[in-house]
């Protein structure tokens, strides 16, 4: 039982971790708190559905097209039209705008369908009995693919030139500017990466819970909690925070309460805010600007 819960928790947590990573990437490179992160996942899931279900394209082609569209709309257009102009007027405007965008996305998805949509996956959704437990191929795929995406992201950031430039921007925008890094382009790159991340989160989470227009709300909340618990300014923090939220959720539902798992998670988050506001693995931030 416990082993099964650990796998389930890891699979759920891996998705939160992915989302939280995109979240902290945007925060680090552009001081953007994206309240629409959950809705971005929902949007990516529906874009995928349009290609796969409505246009009957093959899975991999649908995924590639979804990534292209997501990078365009949720990455570049979102940054150029909304964030870039508002960030000058302050963080509060950005947050208000991303909340408004989240409402916008949620309520436009409903025009595609208000129903829960079965979402395709490359593996079977049937659980396989294995010794004493039942192993879900979906969970295994989620863990593997999430790990792969996270590792690819780490490799990109640490080994490639644009990745290193991105890191420099995240550490200090002004210094990066002086060093001749095109900060604006790097920020757009961060938004594009985030769009790719949410697309992967979408194809992982949607087969488990089915795609629904309002799926983003709870997802976005969990990703944000994961970022808070793990630490906002550390990619590693997002990973650990995401996994922790996954375990807390699964174990609370299994052993404590299914109705009030939300309460337990929020209480833990409040505890972290009270006693370790920079997150469990986060470092204290030095504020280079008034936010």
């Amino acid at each position: 039982m416990i082993f099964q819960l650990v796998i389930g928790g890891t699979a759920t947590g891996a998705i939160y971790a992915l989302m939280a990573m995109g979240f902290s990437l945007l925060w680090q490179t552009s001081q953007t708190i994206n309240f629409a992160q959950g809705e971005f996942v929902a949007a990516a899931a529906f874009i995928m559905l349009i290609f796969y279900d409505s246009l009957n394209l093959p899975y991999v082609l649908s995924l590639v097209l979804t990534i292209v569209v997501a990078v365009g709309i949720l990455g570049i257009i979102f940054r150029k039209v909304v964030i870039e102009r508002l960030i000058k007027t302050g963080l509060l405007s950005v947050i208000c705008a991303t909340i408004a965008v989240s409402i916008m996305v949620r309520n436009s998805l409903i025009f595609y369908t208000a129903e829960s949509m079965a979402f395709p996956s490359i593996v079977s959704k049937e659980a396989i009995p294995l010794l004493t437990i039942r192993l879900s191929p979906l969970d295994v795929l989620n863990i593997a693919l999430a790990a792969l995406v996270i590792m690819a992201l780490q490799l990109f950031i640490r080994k490639t030139k644009p990745g290193k430039a991105l890191q420099a921007v995240a550490q200090n925008r002004d210094v990066a500017e002086v060093l001749g890094i095109d900060v604006g382009r790097m920020t757009t790159l961060a938004f594009a990466i985030n769009a790719v991340i949410v697309t992967f989160a979408a194809i992982l989470v949607a087969p488990v819970y089915a795609a629904k227009y309002n799926m983003g709300l709870a997802l976005g909340l969990r990703a944000f909690y994961a970022a808070i618990i793990g630490g906002f300014n550390q990619t590693r923090g997002a990973l650990i925070g995401g996994l922790l939220i996954g375990y807390i959720e699964v174990f609370t539902i299994a052993y404590v309460t299914s109705q009030y798992s939300e309460v337990v998670i929020l209480l833990i988050v409040i505890g972290v805010i009270l006693f370790k506001p920079e997150g469990i693995w986060g470092t204290k931030e030095v504020w280079s600007r008034e936010l």
Binding site: C96, A100, L221
Partner: protein, 328 residues
């Protein structure tokens, strides 16, 4: 001394006349409305109170609360539970406000400890949780079906049972709440709020305890939602959990953004747009939210003062003066 006292009295009298005039208008309007429009009028005024609360939090403390609906729910359930057990509405309503205020303090304390905008996320979670509590604590809240037979208030032999009479009760309480808000913003407190909004660091340097102020502001804003909920319960005669869903909290945010956050006229403009526009358009709730979220983003991008900037323009055209909230 004598002179300044005199002018203070005179300015108060001048304002009192204005307030009396507004009160008269608010009392007369429902006389000319039909059954349904009286209901919309009452609904609008109830939402106005909660929107003023959020405007205080957002516009004057620079914090986002997405739990206005939950605090409305707290006020509504407190009033419903007390009134159905025979306690006077006039006692129940202040209790509802105080409970909302207290819970606001408890919730805001951790969230406002840090500089990141954690309050927004914590309040989303809180709204989720309150909804679940309303739905699942059947013994107290009536669960999914809610609480029925919430009677409307009376004073002695004067009963506010009819829609018209109760609309007037709501109008008067809404006016009092708006006047209190006006008063708050023009006391030393209010000036501190504005200072925090304009420059947090400077406010800190001159000795304003920012966190305490933000906490008080959040609690007051939540209490406003509590009052709104307390008025809503007898208006409908019943309450149920879906009235206090998270999406309603999003409605309030859109209202304040569209009206112009931090502007005194903002909530009025926002509520009128968000409540009345759907009445004319007659479209689904989702389409409404879509339209309003688009308007809100456009407002943020193009005119951060929102509907209030349009109001400024009209006011200046008509009177040649700046509107009252700008001259302060």
């Amino acid at each position: 001394m004598r002179v300044s006292k005199n002018t203070a009295l005179r300015s108060f009298l001048a304002k009192a006349w204005k307030f009396a005039a507004i009160a008269a208008v608010l009392l007369i309007i429902p006389r000319f409305l039909g059954i349904y429009t009286i209901y919309v009028y009452s609904w609008l005024l109830v939402y106005l109170i909660a929107a003023y609360g959020l405007n205080l939090i957002l516009g004057y403390a620079g914090q986002i609360s997405l739990a206005q609906a939950a605090f409305m729910g707290i006020g509504a359930y407190v009033v419903a539970i007390l009134v159905t057990r025979g306690i006077s509405f006039w006692i129940a309503l202040p209790i509802g406000a105080v409970v909302s205020f207290g819970i606001g303090l408890i919730l805001g304390f951790p969230a406002l400890k840090v500089k990141h905008h954690y309050l927004a996320m914590v309040t989303i979670g809180f709204n989720f949780i309150m909804y679940k509590l309303f739905e699942n604590q059947e013994a107290i809240t009536g669960g999914y079906y809610g609480i029925f037979d919430i009677t409307r208030p009376s004073i002695g032999a004067l009963r506010f049972e009819s829609d018209l009479a109760y609309a007037r009760v709501i109008a008067m309480i809404a006016l009092v709440m708006v006047i209190i808000m006006y008063w708050i913003l023009n006391t030393r407190w209010g000036r501190a709020f504005k200072m925090i909004r304009e420059n947090e660091v400077r406010a800190q340097i001159v000795g304003v305890d920012i966190r305490a102020y933000k906490l008080i502001v959040f609690a007051i804003g939540s209490a406003y939602a509590g009052v709104a909920g307390g008025l809503l319960a007898p208006l409908l005669g019943y309450i149920e959990p879906t009235l206090f869903e998270l999406t309603i909290s999003f409605d309030f945010l859109l209202m304040v953004l569209i009206g112009g956050r931090g502007r005194f006229e903002g909530p009025l403009i926002g509520v009128v747009v968000v409540i009345l526009l759907p009445e004319f358009l007659r479209i689904t709730n989702q389409a409404n939210l879509l339209i309003f979220s688009v308007i809100a983003v456009v407002v943020l991008l193009v005119a951060p003062e929102g509907g209030a900037s349009l109001w400024d323009w009209v006011f200046k055209r008509l009177t040649g003066e700046n509107p009252p909230s700008l001259t302060k």
